[in-house]
C-alpha cells in the first residue's frame, strides 16, 4: 500500500483504500459525516455518564459517581411515593372496623384491588391463584367455612393463622385413634363407613358405627356430624371435603389424624393489607 498514489476503481470511479484480499480491492467510501459525528457524541456522552453514575470498580469499593446515587434509587423513591399516596387509604383502614371499610365505596374499591394483589403474593402458593384450593388447602370460593366465613372470622384467621405460631392462633387437634390406641382397626372401619354414609345416603352403615361416632367424634363434629365452628371441626355431611373422601382416606384420617398449618400473618403483613385480604376473600362468593 502506498500513500502517495491513488488508485481509482474503473467501474465505480471511486478511489480504493489500497487494501486487497484475493484480488478484491476495498473502495474508499467513507461513512456519512452526520453518522460519524453522532458516534463521537455518544462517546462523549458515555464518558460524562461514567463520571455521573457509579462505574469504576475499586479494590474494596466502587466509584460512587458524581451524583452519589444509582438509577435504582429512583425506583425506591417512586415506590416510597406510591406508598405515601396510598397511605391516605391504608392509614384510615388500619383503624377502621372491617365492616365499615366494606361499606365505604372508595375504601372498598381500594381494599379489593389491594387484596387481590396481596392474595397473589402471599396466599396463592397454597390456595391457588383463583383461591380454588387444593387437597388439604381449602377452596375459598365455596360456602363452607371450617372456622367461619364472616369478615371478622376471615380477618382473624388471616391475622393469627391456623396451628400457627401466635398465642391466639386458631388451634385444634384431632386424635389419632389408631396410633393413640383409642380405637381398634375394626372399630375404625365401622365408624369410617358411618362417616361416609353421612354425606352419601346410599351407603349402608351399622348401628355400631354410629355408636362409635357418638362416643368418640360427636363432641367435636356434633351428633349429626354437622361440625362445630368454635372448634374448627368440619361439617362431615356436606358435599365439600378438605381431604379426599374415599373410604381408605377416611380410615387413614381417623387412624392418624390430619391437620394443615396456615401461617400467622400478623406482623408479616400490616393491618390494612390483612383487612384488604379479608374483604377480597369474603367477596369471592362464599362470604357470610
Amino acid at each position: 500500500m502506498s500513500e502517495d498514489k491513488k488508485e481509482i476503481d474503473e467501474i465505480s470511479g471511486v478511489d480504493t483504500t489500497g487494501h486487497e484480499w484475493d484480488g478484491i480491492k476495498e473502495l474508499n467510501n467513507p461513512m456519512p459525516r452526520w453518522w460519524v459525528y453522532t458516534f463521537y457524541v455518544t462517546v462523549i456522552w458515555g464518558v460524562i455518564y461514567m463520571f455521573l453514575y457509579p462505574s469504576i470498580p475499586l479494590i474494596n469499593d466502587y466509584y460512587k459517581g458524581y451524583f452519589g446515587k444509582t438509577l435504582r434509587d429512583g425506583v425506591h423513591e417512586e415506590l416510597a411515593q406510591v406508598k405515601q399516596e396510598r397511605s391516605q387509604y391504608s392509614d384510615r383502614m388500619a383503624t377502621m372496623a372491617i365492616e365499615d371499610i366494606k361499606n365505604d365505596g372508595s375504601l372498598n374499591t381500594f381494599a379489593m384491588e389491594a387484596g387481590r394483589a396481596a392474595f397473589g403474593d402471599n396466599c396463592a402458593p397454597c390456595h391457588g391463584t383463583g383461591a380454588q384450593g387444593f387437597v388439604g388447602y381449602p377452596n375459598l370460593n365455596d360456602d363452607e367455612w371450617i372456622w367461619g366465613g364472616t369478615l371478622d372470622d376471615i380477618e382473624y384467621t388471616i391475622n393469627y393463622g391456623i396451628r400457627g405460631i401466635h398465642d391466639d392462633t386458631r388451634f385444634n387437634d384431632m386424635p389419632a385413634y389408631l396410633r393413640d390406641e383409642l380405637l381398634t382397626k375394626a372399630e375404625i372401619n365401622e365408624v369410617a363407613t358411618y362417616v361416609e354414609s353421612l354425606s352419601n345416603g346410599s351407603i349402608a352403615s351399622s348401628a355400631e358405627g354410629q355408636q362409635i361416632f357418638v362416643d368418640n367424634c360427636a363432641m367435636c363434629h356434633g351428633e349429626d356430624g354437622k361440625g362445630m365452628r368454635e372448634l374448627g371441626a368440619p361439617n362431615l355431611t356436606d358435599a365439600i371435603t378438605l381431604y379426599v373422601t374415599d373410604r381408605d382416606s377416611i380410615v387413614d384420617i381417623v387412624s392418624y389424624s390430619r391437620g394443615g398449618v396456615m401461617p400467622t400473618w400478623n406482623g408479616r403483613l400490616d393491618d390494612a393489607t390483612i383487612k384488604s385480604l379479608a374483604i377480597y376473600v369474603h367477596s369471592l362468593g362464599g362470604g357470610e
Binding site: 456519512p32 459525516r33 391457588g128 391463584t129 383463583g130 383461591a131 380454588q132 377452596n139 370460593n141 365455596d142 360456602d143 363452607e144 361439617n235 356436606d238 358435599a239 365439600i240 367477596s283 362468593g285
Partner: protein, 499 residues
C-alpha cells in the same frame, strides 16, 4: 439584469421581451444527494386561478383548525360543553352530538379507512391534490412564505438579502421574520392542545402561566415541529421524510390527471424573437417561470417527479406568460399520460374521470360511510360486557350445587342515572345473586343502578343443582334491561360444570 421580475410591465408584450430567469431546478435527480448541503429555494409568488384556490384552501383549513375547539355544545350539567373534545383523562371523545367511549374506537378506525380510501380516490382522479392543496405541510409552508415575503420581499430581494453581508437591516428583517414564525408556531401548538382540554379554561391557564406541564410540553413540541417543518425544512419534508410520494404511483394510471408540461406542444423550446414565426418550434420560450415559482425546486418540464406536490403554481406562471406572448394557455396543465398518445394520433383530449378504478374507490368509500352512519344512528346507549370467571371454572357448594361466577360490566352511556334488571336463562332452578346488590325485582332478579356516563363492574354468581348441570359446558344467556326505556342487551355465555 437578466434576473428581473417576470410579471412585467406591458400586458401584451411580445415574446422577445420575455426575459429568461437564470435558474436551475434544485431538485433534479442528479442534483439530489443525501450528503450535499441543501440548496435554498426562493419561490416567487404566482398569480392565477390555482393560486386563488390555494389561498382559499389555506383560509378554510386554518380557519377550521384554529376555531373548531372554541365551538361550544351544551351537554347538560357536569358534562363538557366543548363541541370537539378528546378527553384523555375521562376517556371520552366528544364530537358535537356524538360521544364515543373507548370501546367504540372502531369509529376512529372507520374514519381512518374512509380517509385512506378518499386519498386513493383523489389520487387516482387528479394525482397528489391532497399534497398540493390541503396537506398541513403545504399549508403551513405557504403561510410561512407569506411572512417571509412580507419582511424580506419577493424572490429577487430575498436572493440579494441572502448574499448580502450582515448589516443591521438584514438582522432586523431576519429577526422579525423568525419572531413571527415562532408566534405562528406557538399558536399552532397552542391550538392543538385546545382539542384536549376545555379551551377557554386552558387559554386562561396559559395566560396566567398556571397550565399543566403536559400542556406546555405538547405546545412546545408542536410549535417546534411547526417552526422546523414549515419554516426551515419546507420541501425537504416532502422529498425526504414523507412516505406518500413513494407510494402514490400505484394509485395512478395513464388516465389520472396530473400537472404536466405538454412537451409535444412546447418542444423544441427556445427564446423567441419579435416577428419571428412560431412554425417549426414549440411554445416554450425558455423563460423558466415554472421553475421560479416552484416551491419544490423542480423543473416540471423534466416530466413527472416524486418531489412534485402538484400545487399547480407552474400552471399559473406559464399561463401568465402564454397570455403575454399571445399563445393559448395550457402549455403546463392538468393532463393525463393517455392524452399525449391521443394527441400523437391526432385525436382530441379526453378527460376520463369515471373509470373502473375511481368507481371502485367511490363504492368502497360510500359503503364504509354508510356502515359508519348506520352504526352511529343505531348506537345503543347501553353496552354490556360479560366475562365468565376462568379461575376456578366452577365451584361446588356445600349443598352440592354448581356455581359459576361472571363479571358483568354495564356501561350507561345515557345522560341520566339508569336502573337495569339482570335476568339469567339456560338452566332450570338457578339462583342468581350479585355481590353488593340488595335490590331485587318481583321475580328475584337483581336491579343494578348505574350513574350517567359511568361503567359499573359487578360480580354475579349463578348456582344450580348439580343434576341440572347436564353438560360440562352449557349455553346460557344474560339479559340486561334498562327499566325506564326498555332497551335491552342479550348476551350469551357458557356455564361450566363437572363431567
Amino acid at each position: 439584469m437578466a434576473d428581473e421580475d417576470m410579471n412585467a410591465k406591458t400586458p401584451n408584450a411580445d415574446a422577445s421581451e420575455i426575459k429568461r430567469a437564470k435558474v436551475e431546478a434544485v431538485n433534479k435527480a442528479e442534483e439530489r444527494s443525501l450528503y450535499a448541503p441543501r440548496k435554498k429555494i426562493h419561490p416567487q409568488r404566482a398569480k392565477g386561478k390555482f393560486r386563488t384556490i390555494k389561498w382559499f384552501m389555506m383560509l378554510f383549513t386554518l380557519g377550521i383548525y384554529y376555531i373548531a375547539p372554541w365551538i361550544r355544545w351544551d351537554r347538560g350539567e357536569g358534562m363538557p360543553d366543548q363541541a370537539i373534545l378528546i378527553d384523555i383523562v375521562g376517556r371520552r371523545f366528544y364530537f358535537f352530538f356524538i360521544e364515543i367511549w373507548p370501546q367504540e374506537v372502531y369509529y376512529v378506525t372507520g374514519l381512518m379507512i374512509m380517509g385512506g380510501i378518499a386519498l386513493f380516490l383523489v389520487t387516482s382522479t387528479a394525482g397528489r391534490m391532497w399534497c398540493g392543496y390541503s396537506c398541513p405541510q403545504t399549508i403551513w409552508t405557504d403561510l410561512f412564505l407569506v411572512v417571509e415575503r412580507f419582511f424580506e420581499g419577493e424572490r429577487n430581494a430575498r436572493l440579494r438579502l441572502d448574499k448580502a453581508p450582515w448589516t443591521f437591516d438584514k438582522i432586523r428583517k431576519r429577526v422579525m421574520k423568525h419572531t413571527v414564525w415562532v408566534i405562528i408556531a406557538l399558536m399552532t401548538g397552542g391550538a392543538w392542545i385546545f382539542y384536549f382540554a376545555d379551551a377557554p379554561t386552558l387559554f386562561m391557564q396559559l395566560m396566567t402561566n398556571t397550565a399543566s406541564f403536559d400542556a406546555y410540553l405538547w405546545m412546545g413540541l408542536l410549535a417546534t415541529f411547526t417552526y422546523v417543518f414549515g419554516g426551515l425544512a419546507r420541501e425537504q419534508v416532502c422529498t425526504y421524510m414523507c412516505p406518500w410520494p413513494r407510494i402514490q404511483a400505484v394509485m395512478m394510471d395513464e388516465e389520472t390527471l396530473a400537472v404536466m408540461y405538454r412537451h409535444d406542444r412546447g418542444e423544441p423550446r427556445g427564446p423567441h424573437k419579435k416577428n419571428e414565426t412560431w412554425d417549426g418550434r414549440g411554445d416554450c420560450v425558455q423563460c423558466r417561470q415554472c421553475i421560479v415559482v416552484c416551491p419544490m425546486g423542480i423543473d416540471i418540464r423534466d416530466g413527472m417527479q416524486l418531489e412534485c406536490i402538484q400545487c399547480s403554481l407552474c400552471i399559473d406562471a406559464c399561463n401568465g406568460i402564454m397570455n403575454k406572448i399571445g399563445r393559448p394557455e395550457g402549455l403546463i396543465a392538468y393532463d393525463s399520460l393517455k392524452n399525449f398518445e391521443r394527441r400523437k394520433e391526432g385525436k382530441e383530449n379526453v378527460f376520463r374521470i369515471i373509470r373502473p378504478r375511481t368507481i371502485i374507490y367511490s363504492i368502497i368509500l360510500a359503503v364504509v360511510g354508510f356502515i359508519m352512519l348506520f352504526a352511529l344512528l343505531n348506537r345503543s346507549l347501553l353496552d354490556v360486557n360479560i366475562l365468565r370467571d376462568r379461575n376456578p371454572l366452577y365451584v361446588q357448594l356445600s349443598s352440592g350445587d354448581i356455581r359459576n361466577g361472571y363479571t358483568i360490566k354495564i356501561m350507561n352511556k345515557s345522560t341520566s342515572t339508569q336502573k337495569y334488571s339482570v335476568t339469567f336463562s339456560g338452566i332450570e332452578n338457578y339462583n342468581l345473586r350479585a355481590d353488593g346488590i340488595n335490590e331485587y325485582d318481583d321475580n328475584g332478579n337483581p336491579i343494578v343502578t348505574v350513574e350517567r356516563d359511568k361503567l359499573r363492574s359487578l360480580k354475579f354468581f349463578v348456582s344450580a343443582p348439580v343434576t341440572n348441570v347436564v353438560d360440562s359446558s352449557m349455553d346460557v344467556t344474560f339479559k340486561i334491561k334498562e327499566l325506564e326505556s326498555g332497551a335491552e342487551d342479550i348476551q350469551s355465555t357458557t356455564f361450566k360444570g363437572p363431567r
